[in-house]
Subunit: 341 residues, 2 copies
DNA sequence: TTGAAAGCGCTAACAT
DNA sequence: ATGTTAGCGCTTTCAA
């Protein structure tokens, strides 16, 4: 095991100063061709690599960005993460990643831990607990300290910064409308994420569509399910209402579970029961019948967020102006909805 | 935007030396209580945080580990990644992550980029291209330079280091045996990953089981499918052999696709056709019929790898001895296989 | 063409 | 109890 070699070693090897070696390796014109050549050769032979930590200290730039996502078993976040990674990597940035696991504490701790010069900026999607607590001091602090921060998907108006989001309201609106247009009379909504900004917006979209169709909003049809609640029981109670003929599920796992319950109840899908779910992952596509979904274009969101952050880090963005990029969702029609003619 | 504050600022604020401030903040007994108090208070008020980059330079420890995975849309790697993250985070380590996207070049570049003092160690699962090229110089180099490296899942005997793997051979052996024991006479194998170490081992396991049952190995039943090959066409050709009554799929996506083709052919599952797939993700569980799988315990593998690396970094492992931890797979029986009585 | 010195932010051994 | 100095590895004036 050869220890890593430094400028100092090379300098002493050739009896020159460290500065000379540094310049030689940076191909400075100040240095004679002959010394440059021999130093460069030596550096190559001994696999010299500049110590990035020293450079970071000097430049006050680490070429590293922090990414905090609430979880990673979720298709949307996985895609978004991959999108961020791709753009970052192309621009020579490393990614320090943290999975907050929906925990406020972990989110805060991570930020505290990393707000110490390790990072050039943050890309964050807020944890559920953070959105429930409605406490964003850790984010504002970072911004106040001059750290570039981009919020994506799960955002808040409480902090002013650049954001990338999906048009959740419109996505839910379109989905609901589609069911209504294809003949559904009584559409229910199932939300295990009513704590989240995105969940709230989707409920708004649902309501908007109903209202537009002159349908009175029935709170009993809006099923908000907590983490500890019995999901199956709640859905079964809901389906006690035999008139329900449409289900809008705000999150992937619950979409699948709802479908399974509906199947067990032997509803004809989509004739007697339409289903649309958020997040267009592999699951809805391969399940039987495969499920019409609202696609959130995770990869694209991730890419946008990373591009925005990198621009901000490089000061290529107008100062003091916060913009929010909104990505349109698409409805991916499959077998759980009727066709629109 | 308040710039970040340094020891220097505090020192000048109180007209003391930087060293005094440093000691005061570290609660050194050398410093009088009164100065300690006022300095600590000031630091608190102005949100002083030690610059981690400076500390890293000093300590030659970054408390950061690099994780390179081939992709992240794969359930196993997602879980493994989450496992690594959990353990790292609990031990105060950050994770710099890279998705190699099965690219040798990206894997090598990332390692080169990060072998510069940024990291205390690496956890790597080799990219497909790397395993095809069979070129592991970048890994050996890192190890020779004294960087701790753990390989997991996709490993190679070409480099000596600590590893965490799954007993792929035995997993495939058990799966095949299960089909044979439940009455299958002609079991075929479908592998889109025959390039990978794990793919090869699984084929060995399959063969071992057949041999044990006195069944001659028929190369036509071992379908190796490349990235560019037409998957569906290959499977359909295979299923031209009407005697085939069992399918062992070595990877998740192909398991799902195979099931879909089998369903279209209207085989009765599992009576006329048994199917077992590798990777116990959400997909096989929720598809109809749900699929018997070989679980690789991704989270656990990830945790083991991270624990091993951290121990190695902390010199809590015996030097010079490389160990390989083998995690047993489990067969998760579902509807695509017959019951064993 | 080369080198000395200062400094990035911090700690620690060694004065005072 | 406090300060001075040196140094982690590097770049960059400025001087020789």
């Amino acid at each position: 095991m050869k220890k890593r070699i430094t400028l100092k070693h090379i300098a002493s090897e050739f009896n020159v100063s460290i500065a000379t070696v540094s310049k030689a390796l940076n191909d400075s014109h100040e240095i004679s061709t002959s010394t440059k050549e021999k130093i460069q050769q030596y550096a190559k032979d001994y696999h010299y690599k500049p110590n990035n930590v020293a450079l970071s200290l000097l430049n006050k730039k680490t070429k590293t960005i922090g990414v905090i996502v609430p979880n990673i078993l979720n298709y949307f976040f996985t895609r978004a993460f991959a999108g961020i990674e791709e753009v970052a990597s192309k621009n020579g940035f490393n990614i320090i990643s943290c999975i907050s696991n929906e925990s406020y504490e972990k989110e805060v701790n991570t930020m505290e831990l990393l707000k110490n010069g390790t990072l050039d900026g943050f890309i964050i999607s807020l944890s559920e607990e953070t959105q429930v607590k409605n406490n964003y001091g850790h984010i504002s602090n970072a911004i106040n300290e001059g750290l570039p921060v981009i919020l994506f998907d799960r955002v808040t108006e409480m902090v002013e910064c650049n954001k990338v989001i999906v048009n959740d309201l419109e996505g839910a609106y379109n989905a609901t409308k589609h069911m209504l247009l294809t003949g559904c009379k009584k559409v229910a909504l199932i939300s295990p994420i009513s704590n989240l900004s995105v969940g709230k917006l989707r409920i708004e979209g649902y309501k908007k569509a109903l209202t537009e169709f002159g349908i009175k909003i029935d709170p009993n049809l809006i099923v908000k399910i907590g983490k500890k609640d019995d999901f199956d029981a709640n859905i079964k109670i809901l389906l006690g209402d035999k008139d329900i003929d449409g289900l809008l599920c705000l999150e992937e796992d619950s979409t699948i579970k709802s479908l399974e319950i509906v199947k067990k109840k032997r509803y004809k899908i989509p004739e007697e029961m339409s289903i649309i779910g958020f997040t267009n992952g592999k699951l809805p596509k391969h399940v039987t019948p495969n499920i019409t979904t609202v696609s959130q274009h995770g990869t694209y969101i991730g890419k946008l967020a990373a591009e925005m952050l990198i621009k901000q880090i490089n000061n290529q963005l107008e100062q003091g102006i916060s913009t929010t990029k909104v990505v349109k969702t698409s409805l991916i029609e499959r077998e759980t909805t009727k066709k629109l003619y």
